[in-house]
């Protein structure tokens, strides 16, 4: 599937143009994105650690899971919106960036891990709600989730350091390195 026309349309949109010319828009959107993603990471980490029995299994899993879910989803919503906006600013560059696609793929994997947990593993939650270490499948979901969300943040930071340099050298072009730089 060739996404190029869609990516170019996003970058040529009026909204994208406005964000590029506005002095502060990108800085504010970027800061909101960091705030939102660390809230996603932190709230999920609390649930993941609870699945692993860290620091203990005293609290009701169902209750803590229910309490944090809306904060996680609220923050994820803000991450997604600010993420789409940041993508639109330089869509063509991000579209070619390996770290960007690794980040997107990792988010999908984290989503699948969550889906399997919610639809299958969490069904038995009443039997390990508190006082016992959760079953192997639940612990595995927790551990996987930590690894995947750390990876999302790693790739996210990597985008910022690679987006300007991810290009392939055009073929059949002679470079004259002895010429003075323009």
């Amino acid at each position: 599937m060739d996404l190029t026309p869609l990516v170019e349309a996003a970058q040529n949109s009026a909204l994208s143009e406005w964000m590029r010319t506005s002095l502060k828009a990108v800085a504010i959107i970027n800061a909101l994105h960091v705030l939102a993603i660390v809230t996603v990471f932190g709230t999920i980490l609390i649930v993941d650690l609870r699945l692993l029995g860290i620091p203990n299994v005293r609290r009701s899993f169902t209750r803590m899971h229910h309490e944090l879910l809306r904060w996680t989803w609220g923050a994820f919503g803000i991450s997604a919106i600010t993420g789409v906006l940041m993508f639109m600013v330089n869509a063509v560059t991000y579209h070619r960036n390996t770290a960007f696609w690794l980040k997107m793929a990792t988010i999908v994997l984290a989503g699948l891990n969550m889906l399997v947990f919610e639809l299958i593993t969490a069904k038995s939650a009443p039997t390990w709600d508190k006082g016992v270490i959760p079953p192997k499948a639940a612990r595995l979901a927790g551990a996987l989730s930590i690894v995947l969300w750390v990876a999302v943040i790693v790739f996210g930071r990597w985008i910022g350091f690679t987006k300007g340099y991810d290009f392939t050298i055009p073929e059949n072009v002679e470079f004259d390195f002895s010429a003075p730089a323009q």
Partner: protein
């Protein structure tokens, strides 16, 4: 201060940091992961005061659950932040965002220390918190949100502060 930053930037330690191109993004990533731990630890305690989470637990217990994570992650942030600053001292001292951030961190640490010392007494009084405690909880959340924004804005200091930028 600018001269000091210029000198620091030319020291062998700074040059060693600058020459390892993988080091800055790695430290920044650790710094971001740790602010997640710091922020959500603080947020859990603040939301407990606001009656949003863990209402079945006393406030002191919620604080003791999260305090070790808060302080440990903050310690890691101090370490990674210090190395990042030594690696790019001129960029940091020229940024107004950096100085406001440092000021707010001092306030954040002082208020967390004070809260930690008085939480047992506070928890004994009540499990439902007054208007004043709620205002402090919201102010604390906003303080750490501001710290995060300013941290990100070191990279956008001219855009955000325009002529207030210190270079």
């Amino acid at each position: 201060m600018h001269d000091f930053a210029e000198w620091l930037g030319s020291t062998p330690l700074s040059v060693a940091i600058q020459s390892r191109l993988w080091l800055t993004p790695t430290l920044q990533t650790i710094h971001i992961l740790m602010i997640g731990v710091v922020f959500v630890s603080m947020l859990s305690v603040a939301l407990r005061v606001l009656g949003q989470v863990r209402t079945e637990e006393p406030l002191a217990e919620v604080w003791h659950r999260f305090a070790p994570w808060f302080w440990t992650a903050l310690g890691v942030m101090a370490g990674t932040g210090l190395i990042l600053t030594i690696g790019e001292p001129v960029r940091e001292v020229s940024a107004l965002s950096f100085w406001i951030k440092m000021t707010l961190i001092v306030i954040g640490i002082a208020s967390a220390l004070y809260f930690g010392r008085t939480v047992a007494a506070a928890a004994a009084v009540s499990s439902v918190y007054s208007g004043r405690a709620r205002v402090v909880a919201v102010a604390t959340i906003l303080l750490w949100v501001a710290i995060m924004f300013l941290g990100r804005w070191i990279a956008y200091d001219v855009e955000i502060w325009e002529s207030w930028h210190l270079a």
